[in-house]
Structure formats: C-alpha cells, structure tokens
C-alpha cells in the first residue's frame, strides 16, 4: 500500500512483559503483537478497558518502557529509527526533535515555575528563553491558567490546573509525533474544548497523534481512526 510508506509511526508486533523479580519472578504479560501505524495529520485513538495496555503502548513508543520484541519505527529527521533497538542517546534526540508526550500526570520539579515547566522543551530545542516564555504564556492563557499562577511551581496547583500545565508543555513544541494519555481526563467542558481545538491545529500542521481518551464525546471529535487494543492482549 502506498500509504504505509508515509507513516510517521509504525508498530509491528511490539510486545511487553514485566518480570517481577521481587515477587518470585512472576511474569506479567502486558501486550503482544501490537501492530498499527499513524500518519501525518491523523489522530489514532487507542480503545479498550483499563488495564488493556493502552498507556503501556504509549510508553513503549516514547521509549519509557523497553520493548521486548517487535519494531517501533519512527520517522526522525529523514531517517527511520526503531525505538525498540535505539540507543539512549537516539531516544533523547527523538524526544527533543520528534516525539512529544502528554503523560497522565505532571512530574513537576520542585521550585520550577509553571511558565518554565512549559517553556523548557522549547529551550532545550534551542529557542531563546524569552521567546520560549512568551509562547508558553500564550498557551497557558489559552488554557485558562491565570497569570498570577505562572511563576508558582505547579506542585501547589489543583489536579486540573496541573493537567493543563502538562498539556501546554506537551503541545507547545512543534514536534511531528504527539502521544496523548487522557489529556482531557480532569478538565471541565470549556478546557476540553480548548484541547480539542489544539488537537485540530496539530492535525493541520500534519502532526501524527496517538491518543487515549475515555470521554466518548472527545473521542468522537478527535479520532480519525480507532485501534482496539484488546486484540493485542498478551497471553500469560
């Protein structure tokens, strides 16, 4: 198929099992045979009940969980990199230039202001501090984080505010692949609409996205394709 060649992300038979050495070496199979792709400008939504391995799949793509077997191919600056076999250094470079990730929870650094938490990925990618902060502020404003909170560390924020800081941090850089783990979970209707609009904008910029959303309404609005994760259930 023509289209396969243009995929931003291609998973082929990716598998993950945890071995719990402290529990007598018990093996916990998470997923197996994970095969799907994501193309520029489309949002692929992973569906399935809790515990089906949706978040684990995102973590495998991001290189946070090691992939036991199979292939996780990502287009990266004109080449294709297999995350399952990449060196740490390559994965760091991919995270800087290619893959963004909005995790379920913000892992805040003590003492760092919300504005800087959001601006950091841009600064790491070489944008000047002033410009990065300005763009971070604009996005925080759009996500209805009041300006008086910007200079405070997000650890003091409410769950919904933390999640919006996290979303801003993930959406700010222009990266061609974005992983979204329940980005609207703890948001009210107005902020959910902002996130849906941000996803639309990313599509127009040809960003490929893989998302987990439990809200049927949001899924309806953002999903170009739904991949049922239960077919990747690993057998113990």
């Amino acid at each position: 198929m023509e289209r396969a060649n243009t995929a931003m992300l291609q998973l082929k038979d990716a598998a993950k099992t945890f071995t719990m050495h402290l529990q007598g070496g018990i093996r916990l199979p998470v997923v197996a045979g994970v095969t799907f792709d994501a193309h520029p400008g489309e949002c692929v939504v992973l569906s399935g009940p809790s515990g089906a391995g949706k978040s684990s799949i995102l973590k495998i793509i991001f290189g946070n969980y090691r992939c036991d077997s199979g292939r996780v191919a990502v287009r990266h600056q004109g080449n294709v990199v297999d995350i399952a076999a990449a060196e740490p250094r390559q994965i760091l470079d991919l995270r800087k230039n290619t893959i963004g990730y909005v995790s379920q929870f913000l892992r805040a650094v003590p003492r760092v202001a919300a504005l800087d938490v959001v601006a950091e990925p841009l600064i790491v990618a070489g944008v000047s501090r002033d410009e990065a902060r300005e763009r971070a502020g604009a996005l925080l404003r759009r996500l209805n984080i009041p300006e008086r909170l910007w200079m405070l560390p997000p650890s003091t924020f409410s769950g919904g505010e933390q999640q919006r800081v996290n979303i801003a941090r993930g959406f700010l850089p222009d990266l061609p692949l974005l992983l979204l783990d329940e980005p609207t979970a703890s948001l009210d209707a107005a902020n959910r609409a902002v996130v849906v609009a941000l996803i639309e904008e990313k599509k127009r910029k040809s960003v490929a996205m893989v998302a987990i959303v439990h809200d049927d309404d949001v899924r309806e609005q953002i999903a170009d394709r739904v991949v049922d994760v239960t077919k990747f259930a690993a057998v113990a």
């Binding site: 945890f18 071995t19 719990m20 050495h21 402290l22 973590k59 290189g63 946070n64 969980y65 090691r66 740490p88 250094r89 994965i91 760091l92 650094v109 003590p110 003492r111 760092v112 600064i123 790491v124």
Partner: protein, 260 residues
C-alpha cells in the same frame, strides 16, 4: 562526522582491584557533550571507585579511560603527564565533592575561591577576576555582598553552591560530582538540584554524578548506570531504568523508595 557526534569521555573494560578485593570491574561506556550520566548503587557497590578512576585520581588495574581534549585529540588519560593532568583539572574539568570543605579553600574569601581558578588559567586583571567572581556568585544565588566573607560563615547549602561556582568559572566541559546533595537538608537539596539542572542545561555540560539517591538521578540525569558488587548490572535511559527496571537488584532499589 561533527565533534558533537564523538564521545567526550570513553571507557573500555575499566577495572580496579585492591589486592584480592574488587573495586569495580569491566566498565565500558561513552559519554557525550551535554549528557548527564548518573552512577547509582549502595555503599560498597564500586561507584565511588569508578568516579576516582574516571577522574584520574586513581589508576586503573584494567582497561582505560580516554578523553577528547579541547584541541579535538582523544587521549588515553593514563598517558598524560602530571602537568597535563593538572591543566585538565584547572580548565576543562570540575569536581564537586560531597563535602564542600574538600573542594573549597576555607581560609580564603568566597570571591578568592572563585577567582583563584581564573588566576590559575592565566587571568591577571584584578577587576575582571572580581567581576567574573561576582557574576558567578549571582548565578549560584549567593548575595554579592557576601563575596569577601570566608566560606566558614556560609551555610551548608551556600558552601555547596560556592563550590559549584568555583568549578564552573573556567567553563569546563566535564564535571564529576560525588553525592553533591548528600549532606544537605531536603529543602536546601531541592534548590541546589534546580540550580544544577539549569546550569547543566544552559552550559551544555557533560556530567558524571555518583549518587545513592534515585530521586536526584531522576531529576538530573539523562542516563543511569546501576552498580552492584563492583559491576554495572543495568544501564539505560534514566526514566526507562527507573520506570521499567529489569534486574532484580534494580527492582529492589526502585521499590525501596518511600513515597512522600
């Protein structure tokens, strides 16, 4: 291939045994510019021995350590003369000790502690040295008004920040850190970690940091090496090793962290 694609520090089969006792064995890795590598493990795991081997404070009994000098030539550190080695330490390397008193001269002023490193690399103009010392004190969040005070009058956290300023003033490319937050209160630790994190990112430093504190490793490092009984038992991206530890011992370390 550009310079940045070549490692700054390389080790091959590095080891040290003290008579029958083993310090560390068969350590091989590459460290690139801008990369922070954390070496974690419990006391006696060999991580401090490894740091001493890397920083040439101790000679290995096996393997070698190579370093790409500022002129672009990669040298086996064992072949450096004493003068060359000292020059490296004065210019291109820094070493942050757990106990700031080990890395500072406690009998001279804070300003002199920073300025001294500049004089050692040939700076002569007093005004310029003082100005640079001032700006470094500011960067590590020490009030400039304290520049003439002796480090004896400083708190533990301030001393540690002063030690960092003293190390960074010559714009080194590689810093070794031995439990830099070890002796500090938790609130002081957070400030120091934040400061280190920013400086390392801004200056694009390569860092080898030895710590037993996995939270410190998570905050500061890109990559982790887990050591046990003198060997590297697991290595990888920091978040990967901490979120998806593979070895029994690493799983034990990770699961032993008390949630706050």
């Amino acid at each position: 291939m550009s310079m940045m694609d070549q490692p700054l520090l390389m080790t091959e089969g590095l080891g040290k045994s003290y008579g029958r006792q083993l310090g560390c064995r068969d350590v091989s890795f590459n460290l690139y510019e801008g990369e922070v590598l954390a070496i974690v493990g419990e006391s006696g795991s060999g991580k401090s021995t490894l740091l001493q081997l890397l920083s040439t404070q101790m000679a290995p009994t096996a393997g070698r350590v190579c370093y790409r000098m500022r002129d672009g030539v990669t040298r086996d550190l064992a072949t450096l003369g004493e003068a060359e080695r000292r020059f490296l330490y004065r210019t291109d390397w820094g070493y942050v000790h757990q106990d700031p008193a080990m890395g500072l001269r406690m009998k001279v002023s804070a300003g002199a502690n920073v300025g001294e490193r500049l004089m050692a690399v040939g700076w002569e103009h007093y005004g310029r040295i003082r100005k640079s010392a001032q700006s470094w004190l500011e960067r590590v969040e020490i009030e400039v008004g304290r520049i003439d005070d002796s480090p004896h009058t400083y708190s533990g956290g301030m001393r540690q920040r002063l030690q960092i300023a003293r190390n960074l003033v010559t714009e080194p490319r590689l810093i070794f850190m031995d439990e830099p937050t070890g002796g500090l209160d938790v609130s002081v630790q957070a400030r120091l970690l934040d400061l280190l994190r920013n400086l390392v990112a801004e200056l694009g430093l390569a860092v080898v940091i030895v710590t037993h504190d996995l939270a410190v490793a998570r905050l500061l490092s890109h990559r982790i090496m887990v050591m046990k009984e003198g060997r590297v038992i697991e290595t990888g991206l920091t978040d990967q090793v901490l979120d998806d530890p593979r070895e029994p011992y690493t799983q034990l370390l990770v699961s032993s962290i008390l949630p706050a």
